[in-house]
């Protein structure tokens, strides 16, 4: 039962220690909901899990082996949706999704299915600059369906989504988990993920200031 876990993770941003001693376990089919006030490090934790950010301390472990041992394999199995949608204004919705699908090794057929997953088929040939922010968000999320990876890391995925799109998102996550995938979500608006663990970042906020200087 390959676990994706973190042990006493420490995250430092600039000269501020965002959290310390943080741990999590994400089994196949599992889900974790990151909650906490702004600035408590939800995005930082997701970027840490994705490997964009290097932890100041602690380890990220996949199936017993530290992720740093084989970063490329880790990158191959994860899909990250950040605050930004990575959409090129001059490319159409389909072309945007197709680029990232190809980049993850998927084929053209998956693009159509991915767009349909978020009801974007009618917008397939609309240029990115003409899409509304909600539509752009759905195109960003459609990337997940085009080339499904094992781990989904979603940072405020539901921003700007209408009710119908929220439902699409929930079903997409449910199907992903049913197929053995795992998901970590940082969100303020509730997304129904039955059986998801909640990780309150505030519990790991670091009370002792970054002891940068005391031993000098």
């Amino acid at each position: 039962m390959s676990l994706f876990s973190g042990r006493d993770l420490v995250c430092v941003r600039g000269d501020r220690r965002v959290f310390a001693g943080l741990a999590f376990d994400l089994p196949p089919g599992g889900a974790v909901l990151l909650s906490g006030p702004n600035g408590s490090g939800k995005s930082s934790l997701l970027r840490l899990m994705a490997g964009l950010l290097r932890p100041a301390g602690g380890d990220l472990i996949w199936d017993g082996a530290p992720i740093a041992a084989d970063p490329e394999a880790h990158r191959a199995r994860l899909r990250y949706v950040g605050h930004l949608n990575a959409i090129k204004p001059v490319l159409t919705a389909a072309e945007n999704v197709a680029f990232w699908a190809r980049h993850a090794g998927a084929g053209e057929a998956d693009v159509g299915r991915a767009l349909a997953g978020f009801a974007l088929t009618p917008l397939a040939h609309v240029a990115g600059r003409l899409l509304s922010s909600g539509q752009r968000r759905r195109v960003a999320l459609a990337r997940l369906l085009a080339a499904p990876g094992e781990v989904w890391l979603l940072d405020e995925p539901s921003v700007g989504l209408d009710q119908a799109s929220l439902a699409h998102l929930s079903t997409a996550i449910a199907m992903h988990r049913a197929a053995g995938g795992r998901v970590a979500v940082a969100t303020h608006t509730p997304i129904d993920m039955p059986g998801a663990q909640t990780l309150a970042l505030a519990d790991f906020a670091d009370s002792v200031p970054l002891t940068v200087g005391s031993d000098w």
Partner: protein
């Protein structure tokens, strides 16, 4: 399709759809080169002597102007994070972006250079060497420029900083680029200068992608 080809194809398609950028680079190149006769006078053999130097300096500045296009758009719209997270070495992705950048700036400059050589009544016999020298030199300009562009992502007024970081590193390419043409005009062999240009290109081909990749990883942290 490999990641490399995927990135090159996308960047070329983006450049095609925003054709203005490549055209702007060539226009700047020709316009800047056109300024010198007004400054130093139209006297033909003076201009002929200056031709190689003016072509190389203005080409170098034109490449400098277009460096922002390499990573800034991807950095601001979030594509850069995903490129960093793509499986496969990041330096290969950097190489792909530099190749696409070179195809949309280096090649047009080489195509436009003979026009300026004509304006400066540079001896036609030197044109092949001019083209060859630029073919060997402009990739180094894009490669070194990529490091400068990647390093200034997220910096306060990064655009102003790139010239200061990159121009000193352009000097060897400028020296050997002009020397190759001057040697040909003097009837000497341009071979040693061209070999040095190629050597610099090979060094930067290895160093620049690694450095730029490290810089990009810092930018998305």
């Amino acid at each position: 399709m490999s990641l490399f080809a995927n990135v090159v194809a996308r960047d070329l398609r983006l450049a095609l759809r925003q054709r203005g950028d490549a055209v702007m680079v060539v226009l700047f190149f020709v316009l800047a080169a056109m300024l010198f006769p007004f400054a130093v006078g139209p006297e033909p053999n003076l201009l002929a002597r200056l031709a190689a130097g003016v072509i190389w300096v203005t080409a170098l500045l034109a490449v400098l102007l277009s460096l922002e296009r390499l990573f800034l758009a991807d950095f601001e719209d979030g594509s850069l994070e995903l490129l960093v997270l793509a499986p496969g070495p990041l330096s290969l992705t950097v190489l792909a972006k530099v190749l696409a950048h070179w195809l949309t700036t280096g090649l047009p400059l080489i195509a436009a250079a003979p026009l300026i050589a004509l304006l400066y009544n540079m001896d036609v016999s030197a044109l092949p060497v001019l083209a060859l020298a630029m073919l060997l030199g402009t990739p180094s300009l894009s490669l070194t420029g990529a490091v400068g562009a990647a390093l200034t992502l997220g910096a306060r007024r990064g655009g102003v900083l790139v010239p200061l970081l990159v121009l000193p590193l352009y000097i060897p390419v400028l020296i050997f680029g002009v020397a190759a043409i001057d040697a040909t005009l003097a009837g000497l062999s341009a071979r040693p200068h061209l070999l040095f240009l190629a050597a610099i290109f090979l060094v930067m081909l290895v160093v620049a992608p690694l450095a730029a990749a490290a810089a990009l990883r810092q930018a998305v942290e």
